[in-house]
Amino acid sequence: MTEPLLSVEGLRTHFFVDAGVVKAVDGVGFHIRRGEVVGLVGESGCGKTVTSLSIAGLIESPGRIVEGSVRFDGTELVGASERVLNTVRGPRIAMIFQQPRASLDPVMSVGRQIGQALKSGTGMDRSARRRRAVELLDRVGISDPDRRVREYPHQLSGGMAQRVMIAIALAGEPDLLIADEPTTALDVTVQAQILELLRELQSANGMAVILITHDLGVIAEIADRAAVMYAGRIVEECSISELYDAPLHPYTLGLMESRPAASRSKSRLRVIPGSVPVPLDLPVGCSFAPRCAPRVESGLTVCTEQAPDPVSPRDGHHVRCWLHG
């Protein structure tokens, strides 16, 4: 197997706030091959976004990557200079975000913002950038791109703004797209359109995608593999089919069972008891242990004493759980 496009190993990103150290990401590791779509799933606050910002080197004070490695296409990004990172961000690793309208500069025209993404490296002049911006808007399915290119973010709907963000992301023809909850803030019908667009562009361009979401349905739509995060760690990583057919981690099981399904629409939704631990005060041992029913049934004591290391009960299926170790 060739070297993965991106490999993240032992990544720890902590935030040093007055109340203490928030270990938002605490030992995350995964890898992505070229052209692969990986879903990063988990509840709010589990560290998905911090993971993606860490990869792009966009963690701002009081946060800091305290340990770990992010290798992208042979280059180590942790500790890389701003100059190096500025050439990677955009042309090589692009990002789209949850709030597309807030992610566009309100006083800069759409065309100029796409132009910024084109500027780095391509050496295009102003009119060439303008033409390319129109092409890109057309590519992401915005009608009347000649007019839209001159418009400002407040003139766009949320769905259109996300299309513009995607156009900006595509401008540099990136190898990796990090999509952080790209459809969460949009209407359901628009969500489907944006996902469809992402899938179509991904297969056309062959770029790898990290899709961050709390929505398992979204993952099922377009991802090849999934990584489930809980309290700053990846607790399970496997193919989509295994995620649905044979999840191993009790947290993943809980997530799958708490999905509303049409077939049992009348029955009550299952929930995972308890709540996500406060990141300032993570339990000793496995972070999920206090909420874990199978642990109580099995009578394992190690769960509350020592954090489990990842094990691979099946090929390409990793899980951090004492029940499987």
Binding site: V107, S109, Q155
Partner: protein, 316 residues
């Protein structure tokens, strides 16, 4: 245009209020003009000549009637129309204010932006302390300290006035002479203008640096510096323009003191001497001009808004 019409009653109100306030204040312009132990008949003649013998409300209506025709009144002291007196002094004041405001804007915006980019750094703390000091120091005191230190002690700059009365320079040499006289009063004014501009810039830039579009711009490869200058600062310009606009209105307050200390022949000094001489026409005309300036500045600020922000331009 609607705003312009709304301004009319505002100006009228300001005119009436200032006129009443000044006539309610103690002091008699004729006594101030002719001296205290003058002939009673002469006093009466002068009063009649300027209409000061009539009841106050009649005087007010006469004043407003003339105002409507663009007549700002007649200066008893200078024996000519208030408008011409003010127009004579206006250039001198603008000569101080325009450069002072320009310099203060450049300093305030650039230091404020840098301080925001390096929040809590040594530079930021120094700038904030300096701002507090600039706020706290009374401008007349500062003017005198500047004068004592740099004009008298070190003799680097002339003490007072707009030009050297003894020399008779011509051409470029005369310009240099005036510029030399401008340095200290402008320095005093800049010290007063910079703090609010800097403070507002810093706060607005910090606020905008937290916005999501900053992170998104960084994610497409924009450097920290470009993000600061191309994104955070333009978005912060609205409050900055507001504070600069509002300062122009308040400038006269500062200029009265600075012009007095440096004996600068401008509007500020004119206002002070007019108040001392009970020169009603000059005082009311100047206060009226001041309120018109403030109202105009608000209009201009609104116009600049729509230039800077497409959301204002499109009325959303």
């Amino acid at each position: 245009m609607r705003r312009l019409l709304q301004a009319v009653p505002l100006v009228l109100g300001a005119a009436v209020v200032t006129w009443i306030l000044i006539h309610a204040a103690p002091g008699d312009p004729i006594v101030a003009l002719a001296g205290e132990d003058g002939d009673a008949g002469y006093y009466a003649m002068m009063r009649e000549r300027f209409g000061l013998d009539r009841p106050l409300h009649e005087q007010l209506f006469v004043y407003l009637g003339r105002l409507a025709q663009g007549d700002l009144g007649f200066s008893y002291r200078q024996n000519r129309s208030a408008a011409s007196v003010i127009l004579d002094q206006l250039p001198a004041t603008l000569l101080l204010m325009v450069p002072a405001l320009a310099i203060a804007s450049v300093i305030g915006i650039s230091v404020g932006t840098l301080a925001a980019a390096r929040k809590n750094s040594a530079l930021d703390n120094t700038a904030r302390t300096a701002t507090l000091l600039g706020h706290a120091v009374p401008v007349f005191w500062l003017s005198q300290v500047l004068l004592l230190l740099f004009a008298l002690r070190f003799d680097w700059f002339p003490v007072q006035g707009r030009s050297d009365a003894r020399a008779d320079y011509e051409g470029f040499r005369a310009v240099l002479d005036v510029a030399h006289h401008m340095v200290l009063p402008i320095a005093a004014l800049v010290t007063v203008y910079v703090p609010p501009i800097m403070r507002v810039t810093r706060a607005a830039v910090i606020e905008n640096l937290d916005e999501m579009y900053i992170r998104a711009a960084r994610a497409r490869g924009q450097s920290r510096r470009r993000v600061l200058i191309r994104h955070a600062l333009p978005n912060a310009m609205l409050p900055i323009v507001t504070v600069i606009g509002s300062q122009i209105g308040f400038m006269f307050a500062g200029s009265v003191l600075v012009e007095t200390v440096f004996a600068w022949p401008g509007l500020g000094r004119l206002l002070l001497s007019a108040i001392l001489a009970r020169d009603f026409a000059i005082i009311t005309a100047m206060l009226l001009m001041l309120s018109v300036t403030i109202i105009l500045m608000n209009l201009i600020t609104d116009l600049v808004y729509s230039l800077l922000d497409p959301r204002v331009r499109h009325g959303t």
